[in-house]
Amino acid sequence: MCLGILLLVAPFPAQSEESISQTGLAIVVHADTEADDVSMAELRNIFLANKQFWPDRSRIILLVRAPESDERDYVLNTIYQMNEDSFRKYWIAKMFRAEVPRGPKIVFSSDMTLDLVVAIPGSISFMRADQVTEGVKVLRVDGKLPSDEGYPLK
């Protein structure tokens, strides 16, 4: 019974945040993308759609997890530094200013993220590092992979 109570009151979000903090959040791109390493500032510019093209001039397709996922919360906190309302307003304003032709594509699971990044040239997204499988490329951020000490998304 004590175990049951403990499980009920356990802070689930905090646990999953810990989990991302432990495994790291991998930045995954389509395998043919001509980029291996981005700085944190470049990554923010990509996620803010200030940078919309890869070095080979193909368009960057941003895939973002739907609300109420730990991965999305982590990205909003660390990369965007926004809450849900600010994030929504940011993209509405961006489209309204004619600065982007569309908002980010919404994905609902890590499996969907993987499938779409494999299928869509130029795509970029994020997922827990321990859920990455073959078929996508993991970008180094500030020269580091999720398994490295000092990886910035950990």
Partner: protein, 381 residues
């Protein structure tokens, strides 16, 4: 303290006098209307939809903005509700590089609605550094004019600053022509530029030359902005605009406008400061010239934790036109205003703003007024 307690306290305070009571009733009516009317925003993108819309197939996004206000003025018997603007916006992504943006508005006037194509832009994006477009724009001068457009919900306050208000004679709010723009995304300063060339003002200087330039001299403009990586949220810019104007009631005039701005938009705080200096010279008599200076400073702060839906704000505005300015001297544009208000984001897609304004106009003297505005966006995101 929780939100409902604060809200109840504000309502109780407001009900102590009849004037405020009317405003509160108007506000409650407006909120009720929008809560009933707001559509349920549903995100529904299947795997196939995402893949197909990410490829070369066309994709369309439609958005709408609107605002409804209740305005009460000192000594005026025309207090009442005003439909601000109903704005429709279409983004058509026709290929991965080519798209069309359109913005149309319906504005309530005394006895009719006026419809306007506010922006119509066809844009081809070669790279981050080089994007080329043609059409009708909000002139990229300063910050506000190209940041908030006709979306009252996007801006913190109920209205644009006087220097960039729609229909202003101070600045050319719209221009028709071509625009080149781009970002130097690799620079730590986050530099970007825009450079435009097109029709200048119409003979009615409050309007753009929609059906061709009225004289042989085209308008041109350039603006450079910086958004440094190190100060995320900060944006600063400098711009210049030049044109020869042929107003219907005076000689041709050379117009040169310099603008500068700093904006920090992370909301806690939000700071926007914008300045413009415009020189006008009579082209038939160069000894007749004059300057106009205009600026505003806006400060807002989104409160934290349980009060994060609330955002108090203040703004000061000033416009000063030289008596010798050959274009604007008799337009009654001198202006001075202090604005104090609060924005309540009671819904992710709608906001209620309450604003007190103390304004001094060139011709009409001082005026105090109170505005209650409901603004909303219809968007799927």
């Amino acid at each position: 303290m929780k939100k409902p307690v604060i809200f109840k306290a504000l309502v109780a305070l407001a009900l102590q006098n009849n004037y405020m009571k009317n405003c509160v009733i108007a506000g409650i009516a407006l909120i009720s209307c929008v809560l009933l009317a707001l559509p349920q925003v549903v995100i529904a993108q299947s795997y196939e939809e995402v893949v197909s819309s990410s490829m070369e197939s066309p994709e369309y996004t439609v958005m709408g903005f609107g605002d409804i206000s209740y305005v009460s003025r000192d000594g005026s018997d025309q207090d009442g509700f005003f439909i601000g603007q109903a704005v429709g916006h279409l983004v058509a992504s026709l290929t991965s590089r080519f798209g069309v943006f359109a913005e149309v508005s319906a504005t309530g006037k005394d006895s009719e609605y006026t419809f306007e194509v506010e922006r119509l832009i066809a844009k081809y994006e070669f790279s981050d550094l080089f994007k080329l477009s043609a059409g009708r724009y909000h002139t990229p001068i300063g910050y506000w004019n190209s940041a908030f457009h006709h979306g009252a919900w996007l801006q913190t306050t109920t209205s644009r600053p006087e220097m960039v208000k729609f229909g202003s004679k101070l600045l050319p709010i719209h221009f028709v022509g071509v625009l080149m723009e781009g970002n130097l995304t690799s620079s730590r300063l986050g530099l970007s530029y825009s450079a435009g060339f097109g029709n200048g003002r119409h003979v009615n200087i409050a309007r753009a030359g929609d059906a061709g330039d009225i004289n042989g001299d085209k308008a041109w403009m350039v603006q450079v902005q910086a958004a440094p990586d190190r100060f995320y949220g900060l944006n600063a810019g400098l711009g210049f605009y030049s044109d020869e104007i042929s107003p219907d009631d005076r000689p041709d005039i050379k117009e040169s406008t310099f603008s500068a701005f700093v904006a920090y938009t992370k909301e806690s705080p939000e700071i926007i400061i914008e300045y413009m200096h415009s020189s006008h010279e009579n082209l038939t008599d160069s000894s007749v010239s004059g300057d106009t200076n205009a600026w505003y400073a806006q400060f807002a702060y989104r409160l934290k934790d349980n009060l994060s839906d609330w955002k108090p704000y203040v703004r000061y505005e000033n416009t000063d036109v030289d008596d010798t300015d050959p274009l604007l001297f008799d337009q009654g544009l001198d202006y001075d205003a202090g604005i104090l208000g609060v924005r309540w984001d009671f819904n992710p897609y709608a906001a209620l703003k309450a604003e007190y304004r103390a304004e001094e106009f060139d011709n009409n003297g001082r005026e105090n007024n109170f505005r209650l505005q409901l603004s909303f966006v219809l968007a799927k995101l």
